[in-house]
């Protein structure tokens, strides 16, 4: 491919994304479906602008690798360990049950046992890309269903390794692996993982510090990409999936102080590559095959989705996922996954499956991916509401115009306190939240809570944002609250914004957007507990209270000082200065108390 055609192709992909995704989003279909449809349109069966789909898919799979890295960054090893039960039970249960069911169907349809098993294993996998993208886009990672879906995906990613080995074994070619080789590759695998763990722990931090000190942003970006790609390739060379490797690297860096910068640098690459991946999947849907034998293809797609759904629902029930989220969990995972493409390709080359059958199944998997966003849309529109006992006219898009002067966005632990205080003082509020579980609970206690994605301005409007006076943002996702603030400022400039900030850095971001009424979420409770501590160390209640007041005032002025300080400085240095300043403040406090003691009150 010459230089010109690379750029020409880039124009086609970018145009497809830029046109299809906003339209899809506007129609409420989500970005994934937009990419997929864009892919179908530019692909060989649409306008035919692009051929050579397979190499694109292979390249774009790197988006999944970056996605897994970002997910890893969010997961501390400790949290991962807490997930071991759902990973094994849900993930294992899903793969085993689904594989058995599909094997049975395959044999009924006349496949040999060996082919049926390979097909079943490949089809039992779900699409990490689609499920995780949808979960993060809807900010559902923290819900029960989201966490469970993630556990299943994690198990599947690990399971890919033995499946790959199994295909080699079941293949017609001489798949018997030499024992010495196996031992050697196991040793290699362990060595590489150990190297990543040790290197990740001891080496990355100093290197990151050196690179951050160059204060050249693009070098930091380059290093972040280098790190992820190198680890992914290293891991792949010993037989693990690249996605697994980057996930591991992410987990190792989860407690690094550079986590947020890494996230910010990798995020756009991930977004674009993942988009490209979805476009490629859309392109690979073989419309010709579909037209040739439409009933066979559709029949297979429907059977696949129905089998997976049934098993997922069963597991969701057993796992105790709340009724309202069982569908969400199942819809997230009911499609075929991108690993199926890889596995089928390998199976063909190993002679374990006929090429014709593999092509058919690739089409089935791609179509099943197309179904997922539609099912999620269906969930958003109908099922989530049904479970909240919402009347039709109260539902997401058509919330009856509320005349309440106050809106609360986010009704978790924080928002509830705010809401209760206002409620107790007779101020009716309109409440928006995106966690169905949270909503059902609050509704039971007579609050008017609505389900919806508060980053959408049309939803805010439907909830009465143009008539309200105050909007109080109590979301726990720092990114999301910034998005909501931007939406409000753009579409409802009259609204006074009150916001919960995660910490100083987050409050700075809000301040930059022009929000001044900010509370850092842990400041007050930290001060309160600190005050209690002072009392238990012998301070009188009043003295402790005064100390806390004094500290609060110093802290607020420190905030102002740091905010006006050079914003280009790296956070690291800002926080180091802050520590120095707190020390100075504490010394000043001490002197003030002593000087007071010498003349007044006795």
């Amino acid at each position: 491919m010459d230089e010109y055609s690379i750029l020409a192709n880039a124009v086609i992909y970018l145009t497809a994304a830029v046109v299809a995704v906003p339209i899809s989003k506007h129609l409420g279909l989500g970005s994934v479906l937009g990419y997929l449809i864009g892919g179908v349109i530019i692909g060989p069966w649409g306008l035919g602008l692009i051929d050579n789909v397979e190499s694109i898919i292979h390249f774009a799979e790197f988006g999944v690798v970056l996605l897994m890295f970002l997910i890893g960054l969010e997961l501390h090893p400790k949290r991962l360990w807490e997930l071991k039960r759902p990973i094994l039970l849900l993930g294992g249960g899903q793969m085993i049950l689904t594989s058995i069911a599909i094997t049975a169907v395959g044999i009924l349809l006349g496949l040999s046992l060996q082919t049926a098993v390979i097909v079943a294993l490949a089809l039992s996998l779900s699409s990490t890309a689609i499920a995780l993208q949808s979960l993060t886009e809807k900010n559902l990672m923290a819900t029960h269903a989201g966490g469970s879906a993630f556990s299943v995906l994690l198990f599947q990613d690990i399971a890919v390794i033995p499946i790959l080995a199994l295909i080699t074994l079941l293949g017609v070619g001489d798949g018997i692996v030499d024992d010495g080789n196996t031992l050697f590759s196991v040793v290699k695998l362990v060595a590489v993982i150990a190297a990543i763990i040790i290197g990740g722990h001891y080496l990355t931090r100093p290197i990151f510090r050196i690179i951050a000190n160059t204060k050249l942003r693009e070098i930091f970006t380059a290093f972040a990409l280098l790190l992820v790609i190198a680890i992914a390739l290293l891991v792949e060379s010993v037989g693990l999936s690249m996605a697994m490797g980057s996930f591991l690297a992410g987990v190792l860096l989860a407690d690094s102080e550079f986590r947020h910068e890494l996230e910010a640098e990798i995020e756009p690459f991930k977004g674009l590559l993942l988009g490209l991946f979805f476009i490629a999947v859309g392109m690979s849907i073989d419309i010709g095959l579909l037209l040739q034998q439409p009933f066979v293809v559709l029949g297979l797609v429907v059977s696949l989705v129905v089998i997976k759904l049934a098993i997922l629902m069963l597991l969701a029930k057993r796992e105790g996922i709340p009724a309202s989220q069982q569908y969400l969990f199942s819809f997230m995972l009911c499609q075929g996954g991108e690993f199926a493409f890889v596995l089928f390709t390998l199976a063909i080359s190993e002679g374990a499956i006929e090429p014709g059958l593999a092509d058919l199944l690739v089409g089935v998997v791609a179509l099943s991916m197309l179904i997922t966003p539609l099912l999620l849309l269906f969930y958003d529109r109908y099922i989530s509401r049904q479970h909240l006992h919402l009347d039709d006219h109260m539902a997401t898009e058509e919330i009856t115009q509320q005349e309440h002067a106050v809106m609360i966005v986010g009704f978790g632990r924080f928002g509830r306190v705010v809401g209760r205080l206002l409620h107790a003082n007779g101020f009716p509020t309109t409440i928006l939240d995106h966690d169905p579980e949270q909503i059902a609970e609050a509704r039971r206690y007579g609050y008017e809570v609505f389900y919806g994605d508060s980053t959408r301005h049309d939803l805010l409007k439907a909830a009465g944002a143009d008539k309200a006076e105050l909007i109080i943002i109590c979301l726990d996702g720092p990114e999301m609250s910034l998005q909501v603030i931007e939406q409000i400022q753009k579409h409802f400039p009259h609204l006074k914004i009150l916001a919960r900030a995660y910490g100083m850095g987050h409050a700075f971001e809000m301040r930059k957007l022009g929000v001044t009424l900010i509370e850092r979420e842990l400041l007050e409770s930290g001060l309160a507990l600190g005050e209690t501590a002072l009392k238990n160390l012998g301070y009188g209640a009043y003295q402790a209270k005064q100390a806390a007041h004094l500290f609060r005032r110093h802290d607020r002025s420190l905030f102002e000082k740091l905010y006006s300080a050079d914003e280009k400085e790296k956070h690291v240095t800002i926080y180091r200065e802050a520590r120095e300043e707190i020390r100075q403040i504490l010394e000043a406090d001490e002197e003030e108390i002593k000087s007071k003691a010498s003349n007044d009150w006795r």
């Binding site: 009188g540 209640a541 402790a544 006795r602």
Partner: protein
């Protein structure tokens, strides 16, 4: 019951008020209510305070004179607790017949509160008026002057005198002579 309303923002640095409190703490029937300890945020629990007042026969306000008056929390207490309908006004007879006196310390000598300057009695007149307005009997205050310059021995001496005044007053009340 004797209700001692202790109003001192810095008991940890107090000499005189501390000694006075120590001297009377074992008087039978005495309940010490440290207002700054209970309400450091100046948000007074009205129900609790009214209940305490109701069960008391004798109420003592003990505080250091500071800027010619009581510490701020005592005024806040009056405003939040002595409501119409409870302490005065229509139906406000909860404090009828109870006794009240103040026990105060000053940092300056007696001479600073005499001559053409306001006397201690004049400075304490709001408490006299308060007691009368609530139907209480206002008794003479216990006053210690010049505690800044006072030796520890003298302070203990004054604290003993305080205890005597509290005990005698209570005994006289029970004997019906006060």
């Amino acid at each position: 019951m004797i209700l001692l309303q202790l109003v001192h923002p810095h008991m940890d640095r107090s000499r005189a008020n501390r000694a006075m409190l120590d001297a009377i703490s074992d008087v039978p029937g005495l309940l010490v209510n440290d207002l700054y300890e209970h309400y450091p945020d100046f948000y007074i629990d009205r129900a609790r305070e009214q209940e305490l007042l109701c069960s008391a026969d004798l109420v003592i306000f003990q505080f250091p004179i500071y800027w010619y008056a009581a510490p701020a929390l005592l005024k806040q207490w009056q405003e939040m607790v002595l409501l119409s309908g409870f302490a005065h006004g229509k139906g406000g007879d909860a404090l009828q017949g109870k006794r009240l006196f103040t026990a105060v310390t000053t940092g300056q000598p007696f001479e600073s509160y005499s001559g053409s300057l306001s006397t201690i009695d004049e400075l304490l007149s709001p408490y006299c008026r308060t007691a009368i307005h609530c139907g209480m009997k206002y008794l003479p205050p216990f006053v210690v002057h010049n505690v800044d310059a006072m030796s520890d021995i003298d302070i203990v001496e004054q604290a003993k005198r305080y205890r005597e005044q509290v005990v005698t007053t209570y005994e006289q009340m029970h004997a019906g002579t006060l």
